[in-house]
């Protein structure tokens, strides 16, 4: 594990360009999520809102290392990674606000959005379930002779307890596919603390049991996230087989916006992983002379204005109309039950 850079260490392991680019994505995600939270409080969103506050560095660092043609199956708290992979603020709002024009057309919502045909997979709620799907996608690419492709997906500390996590990671290891699996250990699964979730010393101890490579990153340090994820993604891309990445962080918000997080063990706030990765990155930018606090504030304001406008626009978009729906669950309409002879 590379520990986070100290302020004395001005030799960065990642380029200014990459750092800055990722920072801006993190900031976009943060601002966008703040807008989502405010829309939620205003009763504009019918379903739940689950934020990635505090996890932007880890999430975005994965997304920026992926390329078009790669496969990405983000999870609950990956707004930043999604934006890094190319998801738009527009489609985010459309999905949360249930616009008919959103990628999910009101049929599914919020974090479940995606565009599978573009390599951007749409998670189902059942935790762990996306892992084998990405493994299969990578097997398909291999069947077709494609090389240099990477498939990435994420899971929480809680999600590691699912049978799906185990079976999926094991299948990846047996098939030696270029999977990058990022575990965001944010100390809680909903209200459940780590000690009621698993008994290993570190989630990194799981890697040997699957025979996969493992990387620990400081999840609140953008530089370390970028360096660690870069190594993991490269290793996968170059044929090194599945890569497990573990980032320690703290969820800085409730499980969802309905949750007041009253169960947070306050002592955790003093842990190094409890830092706000965005504030830390901003401080680093200033320290490196790459961007000043004023510049960061200007960006924030720019994004706020942009998202306010976008949200307003999307709220005027048409909602899905039941009368226009085909109400078919099959693509082969001739095989829809009750319609096959009509």
């Amino acid at each position: 594990m590379s520990s986070s850079s100290s302020s004395a260490n001005l030799a960065m392991r990642v380029s200014k360009e990459l750092y800055l680019k990722t920072f801006r994505i993190m900031l976009q995600a943060r601002v966008l999520e703040e807008k989502l939270a405010s829309l939620y409080r205003g009763g504009m969103i019918k379903g739940g809102v689950f934020l990635g506050r505090g996890q932007e560095a880890l999430s975005a660092a994965l997304g920026v290392h992926l390329r078009p043609g790669d496969i990405y199956a983000p999870l609950i708290r990956d707004q930043a990674g999604r934006m890094a992979f190319g998801d738009t603020a527009l489609d985010t709002f459309r999905t949360y606000l249930g616009s008919q024009l959103g990628s999910m057309r009101g049929r599914d919502g919020n974090i479940h959005r995606g565009r599978p045909s573009e390599g951007y997979y749409a998670m189902i709620s059942h935790l762990g379930a996306m892992i084998p799907v990405v493994v299969g996608a990578l097997m398909a690419r291999r069947f077709r002779g494609e090389t240099g492709v990477v498939g990435a997906t994420c899971i929480g500390d809680g999600g590691t307890s699912t049978g799906a996590f185990h079976e999926g990671l094991n299948a990846a290891a047996v098939e030696k596919v270029p999977l990058v699996l990022v575990i965001s250990n944010n100390q809680y699964a909903y209200s459940t603390p780590n000690h009621r979730q698993f008994a290993c010393e570190s989630l990194a101890d799981k890697a040997a049991g699957y025979g996969v490579a493992v990387h620990k990153v400081d999840g609140v340090d953008l530089e370390d996230c970028l360096a660690g994820l870069g190594k993991a993604v490269d290793a996968a891309r170059q044929g090194g087989g599945p890569q497990l990445v573990i980032g320690e962080i703290l969820r800085l918000v409730g499980h969802g916006e309905h949750d007041d997080f009253s169960y947070l063990n306050q002592a955790l706030k003093n842990e190094p992983f409890a830092k706000d990765c965005l504030a830390a990155a901003e401080a680093k930018l200033a320290e490196m002379g790459w961007a000043s606090a004023e510049e960061c504030l200007a960006w924030r304001k720019e994004y706020m204005a942009e998202y306010d406008a976008l949200a307003a626009r999307v709220q005027r978009e048409p909602a899905p109309d039941p009368a226009e729906e085909s109400w078919d669950a099959l693509s082969e309409t001739a095989l829809v039950d009750g319609k096959q002879n009509s």
């Binding site: 969103i45 019918k46 379903g47 739940g48 249930g98 999910m104 009101g106 049929r107 599914d108 919502g109 479940h112 189902i124 709620s125 059942h126 935790l127 809680g158 999600g159 307890s161 699912t162 049978g163 799906a164 699964a189 909903y190 209200s191 459940t192 009621r196 979730q197 698993f198 169960y263 909602a319 899905p320 109309d321 039941p322 729906e325 109400w327 078919d328 669950a329 829809v336 039950d337 009750g338």
Partner: protein, 321 residues
């Protein structure tokens, strides 16, 4: 003082924890946090060590309950949403449900499933899964529709020596209120005449009871008098009560929030026509959700599930047949 459907479920668990040292609770976030819906609020504090947070392992959760039951406990398991129970499906249908038949060892577990649609729930937080469990031999499947039943049937469920799948409807959690907890209840397996009528019978359960009752009120304005039967448990199914009602009315509409293919509605109709064909004055009809995943957007969701309006329409059609 009034009590909600959800509070009734909490009170029932509180009572069985108090009365029966064999009872313990196991499920995700049910300890200090009190559960995703607060169905176990304060119970961890009131009953230290007997309300345990579980890892996100539905299969193990049910397996744990089975093992504890074999050793004489009476575990109640909470699934965070019924939709996730399919991750523990194998333990429910193949371990718990076969144990008594195979080994004569009873398996008294209760699996609580917060089920059914709510606005904005979407495809994975809205499912009605009662038909899956009722199809397998070896399980009792309860679907309480009232505050009183939520309370008394959960207490019954714990007393039963067999595995009980307890489907509690999320839509009713906060909305449905009663004046207090019931003193007595119908026996398990007995359906309830929720409304008397003479022109047609609606058989239903869960949240659809309330849509059906509202529909009956609306139709009453046209001078039609609908009888409404609340199944209470979908397995065993109280065919006698249903047949008794159909004998009075001659017409049958079954309303279910589940998908159409092969659920409670089909089962009720198949029984009624096999045993009570000559009682029927018109073809029995059913009203189900549409045959797609449950959509997220409220507009779509409202069109996907049967509503009072849809029941009114279906009942009018039936009355005209």
């Amino acid at each position: 003082m009034s009590i909600t459907y959800l509070e009734a479920i909490r009170e029932a668990q509180c009572k069985v924890l108090r009365d029966d040292p064999r009872v313990f609770l196991y499920g995700q976030d049910i300890g200090t946090f009190g559960g995703a819906f607060k169905a176990t609020k304060n119970l961890a504090k009131e009953f230290p060590g007997r309300v345990l947070d579980a890892p996100i392992s539905e299969d193990a959760i049910v397996g744990v309950a089975v093992g504890a039951a074999v050793e004489g406990m009476r575990p109640i398991v909470e699934m965070q949403f019924a939709d996730f129970s399919v991750c523990g499906f194998n333990q429910i249908v193949n371990q718990a449900a076969t144990l008594f038949y195979r080994t004569s060892t009873p398996c008294p577990i209760v699996v609580r499933l917060p089920y059914g649609g709510t606005s904005g729930g979407g495809p994975f937080h809205s499912q009605s899964v009662e038909a899956l469990y009722a199809h397998y031999p070896g399980l009792v499947v309860m679907t309480p529709a009232t505050v009183e039943d939520a309370y008394s049937m959960l207490i019954d469920a714990v007393a039963i020596d067999d595995p009980v799948v307890f489907c509690e409807h999320k839509f009713l959690y906060y909305h449905l209120k009663a004046a207090g907890l019931p003193q007595e209840a119908l026996p398990v397996g007995k359906a309830r005449l929720a409304r008397e009528g003479r022109d047609a019978t609606i058989v239903t359960y869960g949240a659809m009871l309330h849509e059906s009752l509202a529909a009956a009120e609306e139709i009453a304005e046209d001078g039609y008098d609908l009888e409404v039967v609340d199944l209470r448990t979908v397995k065993p199914l109280d065919t006698d009560t249903i047949l008794g009602s159909v004998a009075r009315t001659g017409r049958l509409l079954v309303v279910s929030e589940a998908w159409p293919w092969g659920g409670v509605a089909a089962e009720v109709i198949a029984r009624v026509v096999a045993e009570g064909f000559e009682l029927l004055d018109a073809p029995p009809q059913r009203l189900n959700a549409k045959d797609t995943p449950v959509p997220y957007h409220p507009n779509l969701w409202t069109a996907h599930r049967p509503t009072a309006q849809a029941v009114v329409q279906a009942a009018r059609r039936l009355l005209e047949l």
